[in-house]
Each structure stands twice: as C-alpha cells, then as structure tokens.
C-alpha cells in the first residue's frame, strides 16, 4: 500500500501522466471539485458504499494503470486502499487527501530576467491559485502570496534572498491571502490597493497607480497599473518591462468576474475599460501571468501558466466582444456559482476574522471561481 504525496500527484498532473483516481468522497463533493489531470481517469464511489466489501468494485478497476484512492482528509482512502490490498489490488492513497491537495504549491521558474534575476510562479494546482516571486541579487518581492507564508519564506531562504516587498493585486475573495503574514514574518513592506482596503484593520502601504519598486540594486522594476474590474482596487504589475501580472482581471482562457465584492452591474464598466482601453495601450509582446487558472488545459508544457498578451488578444473570448452591451450581458449573465465562503474569506483578508488553520482549510474547500467565460 503506497502513500502518495501531493507533490507526486502534482508531478503526474504537470507531466500529463496517466493515473486512475478512485475518489471515495460523496458524490456532491466529487461533482464540485476533484484532482484535474489531462490524462486522468476517474471513478467516484463513496467510501460508505464500500463498507460491505470491494468485490463488486475490483473487476471495474483497470489492470494496466496506477490507481490512487482519494478522499477528503485521508482516513477513508486508507480504509479503501487496505480493502483493495486484501483483495489483491495494488493501489496507493493520497496522504492528507484533498485537504493536502488544496494546500500544495509547486514552485516553477517562469523566466530568467534579462538584467539578472529570476521570476518564479507558485502553482497551487488544487485551487488554481498562482503566486509570484521575483528574485534579484539577494532581494525578493512576492505577489499574491497564498496563505502558506512559510513556503515563500523557505523558498527565498533557499535562494539566499530577503523578501523586501509583498503585494496583493486586490483583496482576494476565493482564497486567504498570505501577504500580511508573510510581511509580518519577514519584515517586508505590505502593499495593498487602497480602494480594496477601506475596511482592513491592519497597517499597509497604499499601492497606487504608477507605484514602482526596485529590487536587486535597482535593476528590476515592478511597476503598478491601476486596473479595476474584478474589484474596484484591482492593480496589475509589469515586471522588468516584460512580465505582465494581471491579477484576477485577465486570465488565459477567461476574464475576471466583477461581482464578488459588489454588484456585477456596477463594475462591469470598469472591467470593460480596463480590458478594452487601458490594457490595449500596452505592448502586445508582454507576457501575461494571471493570479489564477481555471482549467488544467491552461497549463503550459512545463506546468506554468502564462501567454503572450498579443496571443490572448486574438484568442481569449473575453477580449473579443466588440459590442459593449453584449460584453455587459455576457459577463453578468454567465456568472458561475460564487466561491465557497467568499464573504468570510474577504473578511479574513481584511483582518476582521481570524479563523484557526482548520477553519481556513474549510473555508477554502472547493475550486476557484473567479472567472467568467
């Protein structure tokens, strides 16, 4: 009986390997959210349907594929894997279950910067969140850190870099930001867009349009661009004049939804102006790096998520709706269900709620839902 780590599963996702997932959570949980892999096959049988034995299940399992049993936290998958083992079927279980999957971050290098330095993307495969770290000459900046502050801290340490700046592109509603905690732990300056931060109860530095910070003996610019639409304060970044961090405004295959902090009708105009006017004054050679991915097909060959801006202008449906009224209708009529506990999550990110680690996990359960297609 093999114990699989989330890291091993991530390797299978990124390298598009084959895997048969036997998900033993209840059907609602499976329908809502699962481990996505391009070459994964799935079977969902709740563990409680297997309490009398796995005899009926065994003939339905593939003989030529690795089998991974998955549940919410681990317990049920261990039970089912043991039962399979006794029935002569070799299978593994996911250590920590979907809870561990939701927390796992895979750090991937996006680029070596021309003037010296590196840009990393932290892919949270289970939740679709993307965080960034720019490192240059012993200094680092982190953008849209998820709540596992120690991952960023340790990564910077490994690279012999000190985290100087921490930014959030906006007040997140789908996941708990690690920005504030990371800044507290490292002594970094924490920047937030003031229009999103009116209700926060802690100190931060206002992130205004055209704010520029420099790291690595002033070689690398991180330049802020005010770009409302997903939230009223949403801000994008251009790093080293090339890498365009679009936050939750523009994704690879979709655009940001404008309703999680207010009313879609109020902000859809801002979203339109940002995507169709403001962004279009920028170079098409910029490389777009969003704060989320929605579907596994958005991953590049190496597991990173990013694409040339010019390609998105041609291919992303959300950038190709000429008529303003039709755009408005498309955005407001096709809003997906709202993310789990999004109001609570916003309050956590404002510092108004301080849930335990378990409660934070509970709040973040489920897929990312920041986009509208």
């Amino acid at each position: 009986m093999e114990k699989w780590t989330a890291q091993k599963v991530a390797n299978y996702v990124i390298h598009k390997k084959q895997l048969f997932i036997l998900d033993v959570r209840n059907q609602d949980a499976f329908a809502d959210w699962k481990i996505d892999g391009e070459n994964f096959e799935y079977m969902n049988i709740p563990y409680f349907d297997l309490l009398d034995g796995v005899e009926k299940l065994v003939p339905q399992l593939p003989k030529d594929k690795e089998i991974l049993v998955v549940c919410a936290k681990e317990g049920s998958s261990v039970m089912v894997t043991e039962m399979l083992d006794e029935a002569g079927v070799k299978a593994g279980y996911l250590e920590g279950g979907m809870k561990a999957w939701s927390s796992y971050l895979e750090p991937l290098k996006v680029a070596d910067l021309e003037k010296g330095g590196e840009l990393y993307q932290f892919v949270r495969l289970g939740k679709g969140c993307l965080s960034y770290m720019v490192i240059s000459e012993g200094e680092a900046a982190v953008i849209d850190a998820v709540r596992f502050a120690d991952v960023f801290e340790n990564f910077a340490k490994e690279k012999n870099a000190v985290i100087r700046y921490v930014f959030d592109t906006h007040l997140h509603a789908d996941h708990i930001s690690g920005g504030r905690l990371l800044a507290e732990k490292t002594g970094a300056t924490y920047y937030l867009p003031p229009k999103d931060a009116e209700e926060v109860v802690f100190d931060y530095v206002p992130l205004e349009d055209a704010t520029t910070v420099k790291i690595g003996q002033a070689k690398i610019d991180i330049q802020a661009i005010y770009s409302p639409g997903h939230t009223i304060g949403s801000t994008s970044f251009i790093i080293d004049e090339k890498y365009f961090l679009t936050g939750d405004i523009l994704f690879i295959d979709s655009i940001g939804r404008p309703d999680l902090a207010g009313l879609a009708e109020d902000w859809v105009g801002d979203l339109r102006a940002t995507l169709y006017n403001h962004y279009r004054q920028l170079s098409t050679d910029l490389y777009v790096l969003p704060a989320h991915f929605m579907i596994i097909e958005e991953l590049n060959e190496d597991g990173t998520v990013g694409k040339r801006f010019g390609d998105l202008l041609a291919e992303n449906h959300g950038l190709n709706i000429e008529d303003e009224e039709e755009f408005r209708k498309t955005v407001t009529d096709h809003l997906p269900p709202q993310p789990n506990a999004y109001t609570q999550i916003r309050h956590v990110n404002m510092g108004r709620l301080t849930p335990s680690a378990d409660e934070q996990t509970e709040m973040e359960i489920g897929p990312n839902r920041c986009a509208v297609r």
Binding site: Y47, K73, G75
Partner: protein
C-alpha cells in the same frame, strides 16, 4: 420519538463515524430509531449522503455547539 439505540461517535474522524453508524444500524430492525452524535464535520455531509444511498431516513438533525446529532430511522 423513542430512541432504540444511541451511538456516541464524538471525537472520531472519517471514516469511523459512518462505519460505526452502519454497524449500529445493522443491529436494528426496520422502523427502529438510532441516535448518533458526531463531532467530525465531514460526517455532516456524509451521514445524509449515506442515509440517502442506503435508504434509511433522517428524522431529525440538530447542532449543539460542536456536536451534531442525527436521528435515523432504519428502512
């Protein structure tokens, strides 16, 4: 309502609340009633899902602080 059997599954985590609930239910006759108390949040969704799949009926469900009580009637 008359409770025929009580099960204390407090402090147990998944899959044990359901494993014990099923075992307790196996001891009962059709129409008899089981009261289960759990603290595991996972059981909150799983007990109704299990009851639905096994045909047993949830007569009542209530929350007392960190404890959740289910009254189940055997099919």
């Amino acid at each position: 309502m008359k409770i025929d059997l009580q099960l204390d599954a407090k402090g147990l985590s998944c899959p044990m609340p359901i494993v014990r609930t099923k075992k307790a239910m196996d001891q009962l006759e059709s129409g008899q009633v089981l009261e289960v108390t759990v603290t595991d949040k996972g059981a909150l969704a799983d007990i109704p899902a299990w009851a639905n799949a096994s045909g047993n009926k949830i007569v009542k469900q209530q929350e007392n602080g960190d404890e959740y009580v289910f009254i189940l009637q055997k099919a």
